[in-house]
Amino acid sequence: MRNFFLLIRRYNFLLAFLLLQGVSFFLIARNDGYQRAAIIGTSNQITGQAYEAYSNVTDYLTLGITNKSLAEENAKLRQGDSSAVYELGFELTHVNDSNAMQQYDYISARVINNSVKNVNNYLTLDKGSLQGIMPEMAVISSNGVVGIVKDVSEHYSTVISILHRSTKISSKIAKNNYFGSTIWDGKSPEYAHLYDIPSHALVGVGDSIVTSTYSGIFPRNILVGTVSEIGNSGQSFKDIEVKLSTNFRTISYVYIVRDLLKAERDTLETQTIEELKQ
């Protein structure tokens, strides 16, 4: 016993280092991916308030770009409005409400912190659990996909953007429905790669890549980006470079998507998996 204490005293510096390093790695492991909640992160109240105060000042710098993208979106919405449609006949335009039900709610939020510099990038939004935000909700901008909600506090939430090593966006080629996953390569925040598209699939530069619903996170047909370069990875798959439609450098307003049917889908899917295990 005495030797044991002597040993500790002798190597206390190294032991303290290993102990604290252990704590660090425990925290890192807990923070991995969007399924696991971080113990502490930027969604907490103090850092959230600091970033909010900061962005109250810097928002003015991107006001022009923000206005332009909001105006463009307004124009797009106006096009879809009933007043912009020439009605062809009475029977055709009659919409029966009981035929359709709301599946997605869109909650608008302001980006109060954002990074594009790291290999793992996060955004902080000014909406939280009080507004009904929950982890694993999809986040989109007026231009396309942004990321997935990770942690939520009362007034703030953090989002893992596409620009993160553990983000995989289940996506497809809009014109022919071949599906794969969009993954960022850690380099330019303008481009990502679409993998798992078979080499016989027809695809050309400029084709739209949109979300598929396979992952159960994003609504279908949300724009991810457009094809900018096509290469071959191995023999049977294409390596497609995608120019992301969201500009992560200037992003300032986003929508958080609440899927009202998510719980139902998740329960059903886990039930099926559980049954297969038995």
Binding site: A16, F25, L27, T42, V119, G186
Partner: protein, 173 residues
């Protein structure tokens, strides 16, 4: 004694502020953006008094890195990288110290250590920190050459910023 604590606390707050609200917010065009990623906040650890207790130093390193982690959602990566500085600093100071040694009151600045020693001291610890940080962040995500390039370019940008900040705070004697 109290003066040293206040001075270091002030330096800590200032550097964390500069790191979080200025350096982390700057984006550069294209993919250069991912390569130049300076972390000037570690200057706080480098400038701690020369004869600080080694265990206390480790604790300060952890807290310093963890503060940056909280602000950048990286949970533990900066804390871990900073601990490597804490581990290497005492031994490395002994290694590069002139034979007759420094006085206990020497300031860990460009002026206090002299240009050559300061560059060696800062350069090595900055490189160590960035190597640890980028390895933890991007291990088996980027290829090794790409990772190394990022470490070197970012470490150089940090070193340049540290030297500039030292030149800005030169004091007449």
């Amino acid at each position: 004694m109290i003066g040293t604590i206040v001075q270091n606390l002030f330096r800590f707050i200032l550097l964390v502020f500069v790191q979080v609200f200025i350096l982390n917010q700057i984006t550069l065009p294209g993919s250069i953006n991912a390569y130049i990623n300076p972390n000037i906040y570690i200057l706080f650890i480098l400038m701690l008094p020369i004869k600080i207790n080694r265990l206390f130093l480790l604790l300060i390193c952890f807290v310093c890195g963890f503060t940056i982690d909280i602000f950048s959602s990286t949970a533990g990566m900066h804390a871990s990288a900073c601990l490597f500085i804490g581990l290497a600093r005492p031994g490395f100071i002994n290694l590069i110290m002139p034979r007759d040694g420094y006085e206990n009151t020497v300031e860990m600045t460009l002026q206090g250590l002299g240009f050559r020693t300061f560059i060696i001291y800062t350069g090595f610890l900055v490189l160590l920190h960035h190597l640890a940080l980028f390895l933890i962040e991007a291990f088996n995500f980027l290829n090794f050459f790409d990772l190394l390039l990022r470490v070197i370019i970012s470490a150089l940008s940090t070193l340049i910023l540290i030297i500039l900040s030292q030149l800005l705070t030169l004091r007449n004697r």
